[in-house]
């Protein structure tokens, strides 16, 4: 076989494995969220469908999502409305390209622009949100979309600033190199401030409580996806949960040594650390009330950005 064909097949294989994992991970996370929230709220959560702890519920949910009626509002901006879920969903999948799952293992973990790719692609979800909000021609959706846009700058800049500290320590933008640089110690210790900023900004980026302003149920009904049902709604959920996994994986890789760890195989360490972050995000979501939009902007500009800059300054002095 010619070399290009081998490379192409290899790429297709990797992509299929990644996509299969993403799909399964999505329904698993939905089930996990229901279970975790139930635990926090003195409930048992899904229990009836599937014997141990309602595990079949996740497939029931998926089937329900696929079989629901797809309703398009009469006043919707057809193409924008229809394209929005896809636009929101694609970057979530794309981000899997840079995840370092193990030593030299992953789709393309040694991508030398890794973190730049991260900050560029992850903001793309916003286009989907904005298109959904605008295309629905619904005032609640519109307000949700506007909130999402206002929110973007407030957390995207601190996110990049927080990541910069790690990049300075590791001397590389590639996640592979960053994880390898943490063989001896985790970056969370020298970069504690950076980690705090990253954690807050990442939860804001994920649009989860306390920063779930764009959907803000009690205020905006369901925000930007009010008018979506069935699988289109499912794609937004898909994007949300996949982003949750990706952000957790990136947090684990940047600050907690990624796949580094004793005894267990690297992939296991990667998954343990990632899901620990997923659980942390769920814990936060089911505990805190929602912050207000102006308070989020204040938090972003008046707290996270200065702290992020200060962190870079300290890291710079330390390196010199």
């Amino acid at each position: 076989m010619p070399e290009w064909l081998v490379a192409a097949l290899w790429a297709v294989l990797k992509a299929s494995i990644a996509l299969a994992f993403i799909g399964l991970n999505f329904i698993f996370l939905v089930w996990l969220e229901r279970k975790v929230s139930a635990r926090i709220q003195y409930r048992v959560g899904p229990y009836r469908v599937g014997k141990p702890h309602g595990w079949l519920q996740l497939f029931a949910d998926a089937i329900k999502m696929f079989s629901k009626e797809d309703v398009m509002p009469a006043a919707a901006d057809r193409w924008v409305w229809a394209a929005a879920p896809v636009v929101a969903f694609t970057p979530a999948v794309l981000l899997f390209v840079i995840l370092p799952v193990g030593p030299n293992f992953g789709v393309q973990p040694d991508f030398n622009l890794g973190l730049l790719f991260l900050s560029a692609v992850s903001s793309f979800t916003l286009f989907g949100i904005f298109m959904a909000g605008w295309g629905s021609n619904n005032k609640y959706s519109l307000l949700g979309a506007m909130r999402a846009v206002a929110q973007l700058m407030a957390y995207e800049i601190p996110l990049v600033l927080a990541v910069l500290g790690v990049v300075m320590l590791a001397g590389s933008l590639s996640l592979q190199d960053i994880v390898e640089a943490q063989k001896d110690y985790w970056f969370v210790f020298p970069q504690f401030l950076g980690f705090i900023v990253f954690l807050i900004a990442a939860i804001a980026e994920l649009n989860r409580t306390p920063f779930d302003l764009a959907e803000g149920e009690s205020e905006l009904v369901a925000g930007y996806f009010t008018e979506y049902s069935g699988i289109r709604w499912g794609m937004f959920m898909f994007a949300e949960y996949t982003n949750l996994f990706t952000m957790s994986a990136i947090a684990a890789s940047l600050f907690f040594g990624g796949w580094n760890g004793p005894i267990l195989p690297p992939v296991a360490w990667f998954l343990i650390k990632t899901y620990a972050f997923v659980l942390l995000a769920m814990w936060i979501r089911w505990t805190l009330p929602r912050i207000r939009i102006d308070q989020l902007l204040d938090l972003g500009w008046k707290f996270l950005v200065p702290v992020g800059l200060f962190n870079i300054l300290i890291t710079g002095l330390f390196l010199v």
Binding site: L143, S218, L288, P289, R292
Partner: protein
Amino acid sequence: MSLTREPAQELQLDPRLGDRVRVEDLGGGRQTMVMSMGPQHPSTHGVLRVVLTLDGETVVDAQPDIGYLHRNWEKIAEYMTYAMTVPFSDRNDYLAAITNELALVQAVEKLTGIDVPERAQILRIIFSELQRITSHLLWFGTFGLDLGAVTPFLHAFTAREYCYRLFEKATGARFLYGYLRIGGMRNDVPDGWIEDLLGFIDQLEREYWPGFMKLLVENEIFIRRTKGIGVLSREDAIAYAASGPVLRGSGVRYDVRKADNYLPYDRFEWDVPVGENGDVYDRAMVRMYEMLESAKIIRQAVKELPDGPVMAKVPRAIRPYGEVYHRVEGPRGEVGVYLVAAGDTNAYRARWRSPCFVNLQLLPLLARGHLVADLVAIIGSIDIVLGEVDR
């Protein structure tokens, strides 16, 4: 993709709201937006519709539009005998059925001059205060939901479930009891009920209440979301005839239980919690502390519960003359019943003074200039029950 929208003037506005809702030109291409919030909205607490005029996300005006749950209590009460009206009054404020019954039953007792046995009086206090606790528990849960915190809701429901088991044991119903009778109570509480009640009070004071404070009320985000929002001044509160926690949140120490002493409340030691600034936070804190005060009253009332009958001798058909206004302190404020009796078994005219209806008038005043998110918090802090607003 078209980036133009239909001009806002062409919106079909509800004619019932008339001139109250207008699209205003703010200049520079900016216009206010009219948004209909409700009657089907997750945080309008039932079927309230608020017609919002928004500048971006700032509320320029908010007009409540009510009547979706109108059941015509006042007219129907004219066609039913006094005793038949009691269960129907439960449905007015369906979260505080006992205090509704109490208002009506005591009004009729006042008209006819029936003396209620002491045991029934004290039991009425116990049930009113237990009802206040359940109602405030539900308020706590839904207020958390309004602010985006889902978990407090289910924690509050766990505690509330405990209460409703107690109600079920004593009255046979969980929600709408029909427990009070003209002249007393339908039945005495069963054996062991008082111990169960004290068990609940213990758990409320020891476990539930401090847990709620830690989970939601002492949270930094909660404090920032509620302090300084929807400030209601002392003068406005009085001028709008607000009552209950809304009035007391603004610093007016007025409670019908203290003012009228319609049940022997003066036998017990308890305080009326009041706020200072009249913002959402103060109204919330008043309700939180009222739960503790109610628990205090129940504790003392149980000790003084005498033996004896719970029902006075009441003639088979009550045919009073005269008119009466009687008010009691419900969980949401002053519940009043006005009856005109013309010597028949049913009232000539019945009128229900609903605290929620009166308090809801404050919404446009409180909401102006705040964000949509604050509006939701303000509606939550007024604590309306649409069943009572519309009657």
